[in-house]
Symmetry: C2
Subunit: 389 residues, 2 copies
């Protein structure tokens, strides 16, 4: 299920030999019956965007948001690979398009893995016939696709959201729109809702803004991040708000799964900043706290040192008056009116030792409110990232 849970989609995942391990590394999600349906995507803002990102942007623009399939590989980001990299992405799309009998502009391409490595196009080419042959609507087929896009993830991430008259399904690999490793979070969503491409694109933007874009693992924005959605129209016509709600629920579920499985993470933290002068201030302050290595390291140690949180709020650039700030670790108010609020340090330390914790800050200045999902920083992150080979 998941990416094939909604009516009108098939998926597959095979081992094409991009990964030396022999694990699955090539995935396909396609409309069924084959042909263009409504498609939309959001991409990384990194100006060093990988070839598949550049190509998919072009294809979506050329097709006017009509998309038949998304082909994804892991094991190679196809980023910083020049003209050869772009040709490899184009050829991948063309081969899939030919096999499915659809236009090349109707195929999107995603890659994830190391930057600066050339895509082994011969292996991709050799794998595509099998990939297309194995397309199916089953739970297993979707699981194969979800498995084929993983890199350092420890398990596949899938989601199904059922709503009256339509379904949203999805898969993702991590671990952050703000990526934790050499490259990339990718997510593919499907829905059988009947919706025009422009409404689908708007709904996706809104859903991503309050899910993947509120997830930060290490503040790094990868070259390959992509969230794509296809809508088969085989279900009911939906109100835009209902589609946004369901897409947001699916994206938030996947974003939480990415945070939980981020490299070296031992706990997930939600940082909420309320009472900011503006929404931008709230986002800036929440992100500064969430991305602070000092805060993240103290979360690894389950250390209730609110001084770091207050300091990061003050350094964030958001409007700030120390005397108005309130900070809670979960249910416990630890700072207010410019001073520590007497509290039991052991209680807070126990709270912080849980797998999911919350820091809630109120700046006392307005109604700006934002939440950022993040992780702690422990030796596991360093272990995973200190060497790429």
């Amino acid at each position: 299920m998941s990416v094939t849970a909604a009516r009108g989609f098939v998926a597959s995942g095979v081992a094409a030999g991009v990964k030396e391990s022999g694990a699955r590394d090539l995935a396909l999600v396609a409309a069924d019956p084959a042909g263009p349906v409504a498609g939309a995507a959001t991409f990384t803002t990194n100006l060093a965007a990988a070839a598949p990102v550049q190509l998919s942007r072009t294809h979506l623009a050329a097709s006017g948001g009509r998309t038949a399939a998304i082909v994804l590989n892991s094991g190679c980001a196809n980023a910083a690979t020049g003209a050869q990299g772009m040709e490899a992405a184009r050829r991948t799309a063309a081969l899939v398009a030919g096999s499915l009998g659809v236009g090349v502009d109707e195929v999107l391409v995603c890659s994830t893995g190391l930057i600066g490595i050339h895509l082994p196009l011969d292996r991709i080419e050799a794998g595509i016939p099998d990939l297309v042959a194995q397309l199916g609507p089953g739970r297993e087929d979707a699981a194969h696709a979800a498995e084929a896009i993983l890199t350092t993830d420890t398990h596949a991430k899938e989601v199904v959201v059922e709503r009256a008259g339509f379904t949203v399904g999805g898969m993702a690999k991590g671990a952050g729109m703000i990526a934790p490793n050499m490259a990339t979070m990718l997510a593919v969503l499907t829905t059988d809702a009947l919706v025009a491409p422009d409404l689908l694109a708007a709904a996706l933007r809104t859903a991503v803004a309050s899910s993947f874009n509120e997830l930060t693992v290490d503040g790094c924005t990868s070259t390959n991040d992509t969230v794509a959605v296809l809508a088969s129209g085989q279900g009911d016509a939906v109100e835009p708000d209902d589609l946004v709600e369901a897409l947001t629920a699916a994206c938030q579920d996947l974003a939480f799964q990415l945070a939980e499985d981020a490299e070296g993470t031992t706990r997930v933290v939600r940082v909420r900043v309320a009472g900011a002068r503006t929404g931008d201030d709230a986002r800036r302050a929440a992100r500064t706290v969430a991305e602070s290595n000092l805060v993240k390291t103290s979360l690894y140690g389950a250390d209730p040192y609110w001084g770091r949180v207050v300091s990061e709020l003050g350094a964030s650039g958001a409007a700030f008056d120390l005397d108005l700030v309130r900070v809670c670790y979960g249910p416990t108010l630890v700072f207010a009116e410019g001073l520590e609020v007497p509290h039991d340090r052991g209680t807070v330390a126990s709270y912080l030792a849980a797998p999911v914790v919350e820091i809630v800050c109120d700046l006392g200045l307005g109604s700006g409110d934002a939440t950022v999902l993040s992780t702690d920083l422990g030796p596991g992150y360093i272990e995973e990232n200190m060497r790429t080979s």
Copy 2:
């Protein structure tokens, strides 16, 4: 020597009992003979600035840049301590002023240590007579002061810069204007150059901009960062440019010492970005690379993965064209014209294993040029910061 190397200064450092360890924790640097000389300082931009920062700003403004002494304590940041904290800072300045027979506005106060802890004013009060009595111009006296301001530093940092007609001396504790720990870098500089307060202030700003402000350890800006300078005027009158040169040399020397001794650091990295469209773009790009946990972690592993550098440049917000970017690890060009430049990975890995390494990036777009001094990120940083008690 160091902070007493220039004519007209005495210093001392005692154990007042702020630190539970019994180590020196209270320092004084004063003009000799006692009385106001030209003084200037730059402070943290953190809006949660500690009481001593707020007080010292007020004093400098009230005195018009006439300063007789700087009193510093370690073991307590006196930050987020409300009215009581401000009163403690004020009382500390008043006691020193009384002992030296100078105006209270002519005394600056610096604190460093944990946020949210009240300054044990009784111990400070009890320590000040001894602190003043021990003031002396000797190398030992300066060394005691430099020792008394340390927190998690492993050794004292001092500098002397001799120039024709004048001397600049200084001391600092780490490890970053962009602070690595619960609080603070502090630096005190002294010079016998004859210079008016406004010129001194301008020279300090320029010197700090290309030294401490180009040092980033973890991107966190502390509540207490202060760089202060006193000029006794007992040496020659100086040209402003000569003073800037000497102050910059002293600040850069201290900044490098801070980087070398930053918590958990195994190597120092200079990230230079040249060829940026503007100077701001160069600074933004250099800082983004230098502060990237992915880049820092790969430096810990001495891993020559240029893909992370290119990705951070592309994500920095600076104007960027991948095809124009060139990246060197030290002497080795690894990326140009949109592609990896063939190179021996082992050679680069050996280069990256040195205690000081350079990454030089050229964006190929203009003349913007900036260098940022940073450190790697290894388990030592986490070990030092995961628990505060």
